[in-house]
Symmetry: C2
């Protein structure tokens, strides 16, 4: 009897301590949710935490969400991955976003765990944001041409579906160059807006062809049987429209409820659901990510809103940064510098492993 | 008599028309001064013009000169040159500068003439700035390793000497990545301040070695017999200090006055002047630009103020952008698109010549 009592007491103790620790970590914004259908994990760096951060005063320029309530919010989905140039690229892009009012930044990292240096930097910016780990499924890494950035963008779309009702979604890589004017061009997008992107393929530009304010075709260095031969940085989507597309496919789930448990012997309604969900997403197919996503929105050329003065101005460029090698461990074999700044500096580097 | 009268009338007409046109161009900010001893030409885009520019509303984030009068102004000298990635790089850097209060941007281009697209973009930023053409002398272009960016930076130093009395000077390339915090680190520099620069050489970082708050040496992947083996993005100079160094060398000029006319048979005082002026400048010697300039300031290690938490943080990275090829002329052979956006778009591109 006493043994059983002690055991149940221990269970209660362990259980309540676990709940207490979970509450603490959640409050500190360190709780990791595991809800993404694409295998993503979310770290909800809530805004209160960002504002409490002691590391840096908030940038007076950054416009926190809601400061200009009349403007639609632009949800910028940025895929990123660990590399020596990652922090500098994010820094450069963050500072562009600081000059734009009402943006919310969704940074999705192709890695199984989140990077504390990235998280700390994002908090220091004062930009409203979320930081998601969205690793690419292993099977896609084995492909000849790897579809980079898809798992990240899918996680971003999914986050928007679950948290947002209004505004605009834009896929923005961290190594591109953005004139802040492009954000004002896209802000009032209803369905899909498009504009030219510079430094794409040997032609130097990718753009819709516009006559009399209507998109009649596309100018791009590579067509590849795509219906929409455009660059990822060349379009934005209205979120209410995106949700309408998604909602059309939702009821199928609620009707059956447990499609995930039917690996074999799939019921017809479940199969339909998965097929349709796939269609409303971005495909894991290198070169066809933009086209697949836009086709899944069921739009036609007539739905496209040409921006940037009828696609005559370039406000976005597909710049690429030269790859850098990871740094060696600098403090090793330099014990006579052990009381200098070098050991601390080493922590700032992306080191060779 | 009548012929002579007509001729003099013509002279007066031509003269007054010329003066009138000069006044107009000067008022429009298009006047080019030719005063630089290094062969540079200046285009004084005055602030009134920038504020009159109809192309874009002023960024609410950019802090025009004097908005925070208590802060010293940071004079950022940016060398640039014509290339397909020039505008995107300038855009990206301009937007970083917009998040920093009290900066004045000196953009110096290695080209014989100024680029109207760059000038128009600079005006649209609302940043206080000047745009200078500072072509490299031909003899340096023939060297094995070309000293890039020297003529530009020399023109920048010269502009500061002639127009500024206070503040801080910083050499910032347009392709680097800057965390806006670095500008606050350098703002109160007295003589020379220094900090680490990431992504330099195979070591991944170049930094002063600091013990007990004092610079005792340098950590860099290449020393090359330099006294100050540092990166151009790794230091700033107090302008009153810079002027003191320059002023020591000034009286020599005013005494003789016309050294420029003594190509042969140089008088001793003139020779001294040129020798000393050279010492206070940046040398045309690839790899030794930083060291030569810092040595010309006659500083010692004890004069260096280590910044960025005793050189333990990286706020600047020497990122490099992949070169892009100029675009072909897109509208040619596409006459059926002549009434589309493509001919206008072509004007936005850096075209193959």
């Amino acid at each position: 009897m006493r043994k059983a009592e002690a055991r149940s007491f221990l269970y209660v103790l362990v259980g309540s301590t676990t709940v207490f620790i979970m509450m603490l970590t959640y409050k500190a914004g360190l709780m990791v949710e595991r809800k993404s259908p694409g295998g993503g994990m979310y770290l909800p760096w809530n805004r209160r935490l960002a504002q409490k951060s002691p590391s840096l005063p908030l940038n007076p320029c950054s416009n926190p969400l809601g400061s200009q309530a009349s403007l639609p919010v632009i949800y910028v989905v940025t895929p990123t991955y660990p590399r020596p140039t990652q922090i500098p690229e994010l820094v450069r892009f963050a500072q562009t976003l600081m000059t734009v009012p009402n943006v919310f930044w969704i940074v999705a990292e192709d890695a199984p765990i989140l990077n504390i240096r990235v998280a700390t930097y994002l908090n220091s910016t004062g930009l409203p944001h979320t930081y998601i780990a969205a690793p690419m499924p292993e099977k896609h890494r084995k492909k000849k041409v790897i579809p980079k950035g898809v798992s990240n963008r899918r996680a971003g779309i999914d986050w928007i579906r679950r948290h947002v009702e209004d505004g605009v979604m834009y896929f923005a890589d961290d190594d591109n160059s953005y004139d802040r004017r492009i954000f004002e061009e896209m802000r009032w997008t209803k369905k899909v807006s498009m504009w030219p992107v510079g430094l794409v393929t040997h032609l130097g530009v990718s753009s819709p062809v516009v006559i009399d304010g209507r998109v009649i075709g596309f100018y791009d260095g590579w067509f590849g049987a795509r219906k929409f031969p455009v660059d990822m940085a060349g379009f934005a989507v209205g979120i209410p429209f995106l949700l309408t597309v998604a909602r059309l496919r939702r009821p199928e789930v609620t009707r059956t409820g447990k499609f995930a448990h039917h690996r074999s012997g799939v019921r017809s309604s479940d199969r339909d659901y998965r097929l349709l969900m796939h269609k409303a997403e971005m495909p894991y197919r290198a070169g066809y990510e933009e086209d697949g996503f836009l086709q899944s929105l069921k739009i036609s050329k007539a739905d496209i809103e040409p921006k940037a003065s009828g696609c005559t101005k370039i406000y976005v460029w597909h710049t690429k940064t030269q790859a850098a090698r990871p740094a060696p461990t600098i403090a090793r074999n330099r014990t006579h510098f052990s009381d200098s700044n070098l050991p601390s500096l080493e922590k700032e580097l992306f080191l060779r492993t």
